[in-house]
Amino acid sequence: MTNISKEQVKHVAELARLEVTEEEADMLTDQLSEIITAAELLNELDTTNVEPITHASDLKNVLRKDEPKVWITKEEALKNAPDQKDGHFRVPSILAD
């Protein structure tokens, strides 16, 4: 059994921009440990000479010309925003007080 620590869970939550309560952190510590342990079944397989794949199709790089075209207007882009000002998305202050 691979045990993930509660500190690791909190660190990963920070990376994922999630807030976890102590109770959630305890639950996730148990569940992620179980899931990761189950995933370690893959270690049975010797994959030394196996190439990883990122998808299962034969597609290679798909290129197109980089040409500007009309997509949406600024007004449209902003209409679903929780907050906006002067044609921009507005967010709370970036630097903490």
């Binding site: 179980e34 196996v50 299962a56 882009a77």
Partner: protein, 488 residues
């Protein structure tokens, strides 16, 4: 006979002969929704005013040539619809009433004059096998409302089974079209990776996601895929390949068909009822002149681990876009970082957070090679299993799911038990090949069982041919659910 017991082709004839109007089809849809949807709970959002207006327009039109002309359809709520609320069944998109554009599949449906009846419930961001992870409510199985409809496209399969729409669109990342189709006794196809554009599909796991049709018959399914399939400049993973006329494949017999049956698909973990139903189906194929042999998918036991590492890793990256800045729900906070965290923590449900956590862990520094890269290598081996079988056989056949639908609440305590439900559908997504589920019988409790037919890359024609031959030789697809729970 209810209108939706007819195929699209039959309804088209009725429209052309002026026996019915498009308004009648749209009426039939909303009438049925008003009758049964308080029990089935398939719909998150209805599009009634627009749908009735569209029906009126189509009824005035001289040109009735669209191949889905006037056909009422339901759309899984992770497919973006212009001006029509799109939530992916997540509270973080609760207020997303006014999306800016239609997904490519929607434009294709509209070009053929289909009508959108509404948006269908699902597991939040398509993460789940039962619809119990919806941020809103649980859709019920029309065959017995105490049971789950399957997931994640549970609303889509339930709406088709209950006769609320003629067909529906779903998406399938690890079985999310085929498993609910099996549980609800309808036909659901996951196309080859790259067959259908995903532009406008809310991304879950980009190397696995595909959109596909859920219908009552194989013929309707082939007809809808003809509309959906094709290259799209807006999705660079969509393939530059001509779209065959899939309905033409249905007229051919299966006398020459070589079927492979993986022993792993009829072994431990698969219920005896399901095994029996599949063995009976193989007898049907024998009687039609097809041959089958037992084969092995040696890496299938690694599918679940491989899938949950890869899909969760991709999801953790894809779901980074939900941050409360450009659209969706924002939580109040004094600074930006807290706003991100609070918006995401309040907006996402438990399963979505668990997978983001798992994926972020698997991609994090020090663990990437051990988990993510390892899973990508095992994926190569799994794809190789299929390549090897398809060198000698036309299709692979087995069950869609190890059991029929389970009871609501039965598997929610333990994520791993729920994940194990997808073991027979996941390998298909990892290998990128097409797979369909068709009804192949009922359990003792009267719940549908699904037969899974898997084909070669871009060979949906053979999958449809095999599915149609079986369907026409059996009666399972003709049964209809009596909506209601065991206690009602």
């Amino acid at each position: 006979m209810a209108l939706f017991d007819h195929t699209i082709k039959e309804l088209e004839e009725k429209l052309h002969n002026n026996e019915i109007k498009v308004a009648d089809l749209v009426d039939a849809s909303y009438q049925r929704i008003h009758e049964v949807d308080d029990q089935v709970r398939a719909f998150l959002t209805l599009n009634e005013e627009n749908a009735r207006a569209a029906a009126k327009e189509l009824d005035k039109s001289e040109d009735k040539s669209g191949s889905l002309f006037g056909m009422p359809t339901g759309i899984k709520d992770n497919i973006v619809t212009k001006g029509l609320r799109t939530t992916s069944a997540s509270k973080i998109l609760d207020n997303f009433y006014d999306p800016l554009y239609d997904a490519t599949v929607m434009n294709k449906l509209y070009e053929q004059s289909a009508i959108t009846i509404g948006k269908l419930n699902m597991d939040e961001f398509a993460m789940g096998s039962s619809n119990e992870n919806s941020g809103y409510f649980i859709t019920r199985n029309p065959w017995n409302t105490d049971y789950v409809p399957g997931g994640s496209s549970g609303g889509s399969a339930a709406a088709v089974a209950a006769g609320e729409v003629l067909f529906a669109l779903g998406s399938d990342t690890g079985g999310s079209i085929r498993e609910p189709a099996a549980y609800c006794g309808v036909v659901g196809l996951k196309p080859t990776y790259g067959r259908v554009s995903r532009f406008g599909l809310v991304a879950f796991a980009s190397s696995l996601d595909q959109i596909g049709p859920i219908t009552r018959s194989v013929e309707d399914n082939a007809r809808v895929l003809e509309v959906l399939a094709g290259q799209d400049p807006m999705d660079s993973t969509s393939a530059h390949l001509a779209v065959p006329k899939y309905t033409d494949a249905l007229t051919k017999d299966v006398k020459d068909l070589k079927i492979a049956v993986p022993s792993e698909y009829l072994g431990e973990g698969v219920s005896s009822e399901v095994q029996e139903a599949v063995k009976k189906a193989l007898k049907v194929y024998e009687s039609l002149g097809a041959t089958w042999e037992e084969v092995s998918l040696p890496h299938s036991k690694y599918a679940m681990a491989t899938y949950y590492i890869i899909a969760s890793s991709e999801a953790s990256a894809n779901l980074a876009r939900f941050d409360g800045v450009r659209y969706g729900v924002r939580a109040e906070a004094d600074n930006m970082m807290d706003m991100f965290k609070k918006s995401r923590s309040q907006g996402f449900g438990e399963e979505v957070k668990r997978r983001i956590m798992l994926g972020t862990f698997a991609l994090s520094s020090g663990y990437y090679d051990a988990y993510y890269k390892k899973a990508q290598k095992v994926r190569t081996l799994m794809k190789g299993d299929f390549d090897k079988i398809f060198a000698d056989y036309d299709v692979v056949i087995g069950p869609t799911s190890p059991t029929p639908a389970f009871k609501i609440g039965e598997k929610t305590d333990d994520p791993l038990t729920m994940y194990a439900n997808d073991i027979l559908t996941i390998p298909v997504n990892l290998a990128g090949v097409p797979g369909i589920s068709v009804p192949c019988g009922f359990s003792e409790d009267g719940l549908p069982i699904g037969l899974q037919i898997i084909g070669k890359h871009f060979d949906e024609s053979t999958v449809y041919r095999a599915a149609h031959a079986y369907e026409q030789a059996t009666d399972h697809h003709k049964k209809r659910p009596q909506i209601g729970g065991a206690n009602e």
